[in-house]
């Protein structure tokens, strides 16, 4: 029940041409657990394991698939607040509970093996270990189904959030800076997507004009879309609608990065059911087809990636995706880039030239009508900023928009193709969905 050794599933090079499985793989089910701020440490029906099982069952129910039909399980075993700098490193060991919660597995850690055993998935033949995050998992699933390694595959993305301040433990509590951190941490860079983007964002404002708080319309709209997402954290916890005034008066984290430029860590899980287009026809839901998946892992030149590099990388990522999907910027109806920190979305928007937005135009675009009801429904998912740090809203919304089941978020414009990602400008992946396979 493992992956073949050195399975080459990534589409991470320039010039690969149209994806060989374009339209032959589909998503037939989506499932979300509730989205909590944290696990409370006592409720066994709210552990990360219980939530992952729940998400899987929902995705399977939605597709009308039984446990016997599941042949693939792809689950990321790095749960955001994990060992690298996270409070998780200080969490265990501790007194455990009766099986299956007699170890950390299922409580705050989940992997494919644990899920297969707990859900009694007896026919799984593809369950790779050490799989990356959701950005690449969906690509891996699409490729594995297309390659015939499995025909019906669950992709599960658990996101944990433990007690204590986020990522204040582990190496961030250390007095020493080892490995790659010797070049960053002595000066205060704790590492992460916030630092990757905030310096190029500063250069962006200098180069093209504009100021940091020009992000306000985008962030406020993300929260609005989040409140229109029934499963998301904001909607299920009655979080008030963020206003521009709230935003511009919020405290700084990495000045000019504000509190509301950051997403809210949560405890949740989501699952997606990938299958062949042929099998999807007999399932309960109208399938959404995969038109391409692509990945990238660009290497920065020096200590800090700069604006030139970020623009080059996002241009190349766009080119790869469009080439593999056989589509261009004008063909993309729904665009759900990652927004885990607000200042990165502009790089993706301009790189992919969605709705004709060119370099330096993002702030003016944000100031226009980007509501889901309007002509430019940018990030109709609400992303992480509007739903909590699940990193899955972009995928779910894209699928729902094409199915026309997005409810209050349903866009008024055409919705036949959708592009989604959890990615940084330097590394991650994209996936293109289509309402039809061709």
């Amino acid at each position: 029940m493992t992956a073949p050794d050195r399975y080459q599933w990534r589409r991470d090079k320039d010039g690969l041409g149209v994806w060989e499985h374009r339209g032959k793989v589909a998503v037939a089910g989506v499932g979300h657990s509730p989205v909590d701020r944290r696990w409370d440490g006592v409720s066994m029906d709210k552990t990360l394991g219980a939530y992952s099982i729940l998400a899987c069952r929902k995705a399977m129910d939605e597709a009308g698939v039984s446990p016997e039909q599941i042949e693939g399980v792809i689950c990321c075993d790095s749960h955001i607040a994990g060992g690298s700098g996270g409070s998780a490193s200080q969490w265990a060991p501790r007194p455990y509970f009766a099986p299956p919660y007699d170890s950390e597995w299922g409580l705050t850690l989940v992997n494919a093996q644990w899920l297969i055993e707990e859900m009694r998935l007896r026919n799984v033949k593809f369950a790779p270990t050490g799989v990356p995050t959701i950005s690449e998992m969906v690509g891996m699933a699409a490729q594995a189904v297309g390659d015939g390694l499995c025909h019906t595959c669950l992709v599960i993305y658990p996101t944990g959030n433990l007690e204590g301040r986020y990522r204040r433990g582990g190496e961030n509590a250390d007095d020493y800076a080892r490995g790659a951190r010797q070049w960053t941490a002595p000066w205060g860079n704790h590492g992460g997507n916030d630092f990757i983007n905030i310096f190029p964002h500063g250069q962006y404002c200098l180069k093209y004009g504009g100021k940091h708080d020009d992000l306000a319309p985008f962030v406020v709209n993300q929260h609005r879309n989040g409140l229109l997402t029934p499963w998301g954290y904001n909607a299920t916890h009655q979080v008030p609608q963020l206003t521009t005034e709230d935003y511009v008066n919020s405290r700084y984290i990495l000045n000019p990065l504000r509190l509301w430029d950051c997403d809210r860590p949560v405890n949740a899980s989501a699952a997606y059911l990938f299958t062949t287009t042929e099998r999807a026809r007999d399932m309960r839901q109208s399938p959404v087809y995969v038109l391409n998946h692509s990945q990238h892992n660009f290497r920065k030149r020096s200590t800090q990636e700069d604006l030139d590099e970020i623009e080059d990388w996002t241009d190349r990522a766009a080119k790869r995706m469009y080439e593999g999907a056989g589509l261009g910027p004008k063909d993309v109806d729904i665009f759900n880039p990652y927004d885990g920190y607000a200042p990165m979305a502009q790089f993706f928007l301009e790189g992919f030239q969605w709705h004709g937005v060119k370099r330096g135009d993002a702030f003016a675009f944000y100031a226009g009508d980007i509501r889901v009801e309007g002509p430019h429904p940018f990030c109709s998912s609400g992303g992480n900023l509007g739903n909590g740090r699940t990193r899955t809203a972009m995928y779910t919304d894209s699928i729902e928009q094409l199915r026309r089941t997005a409810g209050a978020r349903q866009v008024r414009v055409r919705a036949e193709t959708a592009l989604a990602a959890f990615t940084t400008p330097s590394s991650g992946g994209w996936i293109m969905f289509g309402k039809s396979p061709g």
Partner: protein, 136 residues
């Protein structure tokens, strides 16, 4: 206030040894005539380790942009908050950049575009780090 203490490894030891002698020495690929920092096992351009040597460079640069860390995650740096964190480009090759807290420059007052010069700061007995100071 105390900064995190870098732990040299086999790759970085020549760099830190130079810093501890108050010199800035970067990897240089003779084949590509390119400087690179942080050090790597091979040249980033030609992907070969063959032409890599250590070359002392002039510690002059410019502030490209900066932020102010008000709520970072590093325990050891908490007492310093708020503090500047600048991205400094090296004049000898602006593709090479460094972080700096810009000692002597108050938080929020970093002059973007200004010239800076390297300086060295003790973070532990026998361990210096390179810093950058605005040229008056």
């Amino acid at each position: 206030m105390p900064k995190l203490i870098p732990v040299p490894d086999s790759l970085s030891k020549p760099f830190w040894d130079a810093v501890n002698q108050r010199r800035l020495a970067l990897q240089h690929c003779a084949q590509c005539d390119r400087l690179q920092y942080p050090p790597q096992q091979a040249c980033q351009v030609c992907n070969s380790p063959a032409g890599l040597t250590w070359k002392e460079v002039e510690g002059r640069g410019h502030i490209a942009t900066y932020i102010v860390i008000e709520d970072g995650r590093l325990n050891r740096r908490m007492p310093d908050q708020p503090y500047n964190l600048a991205m400094v480009t090296l004049d000898a090759d602006p593709r090479v950049n460094f972080y700096s807290n810009l000692p002597g420059t108050p938080p929020y007052k970093a002059p973007v575009g200004a010239a800076v010069e390297v300086t060295f700061e003790e973070v532990a007995p026998d361990q210096l780090i390179h810093e950058w100071r605005v040229v008056a």
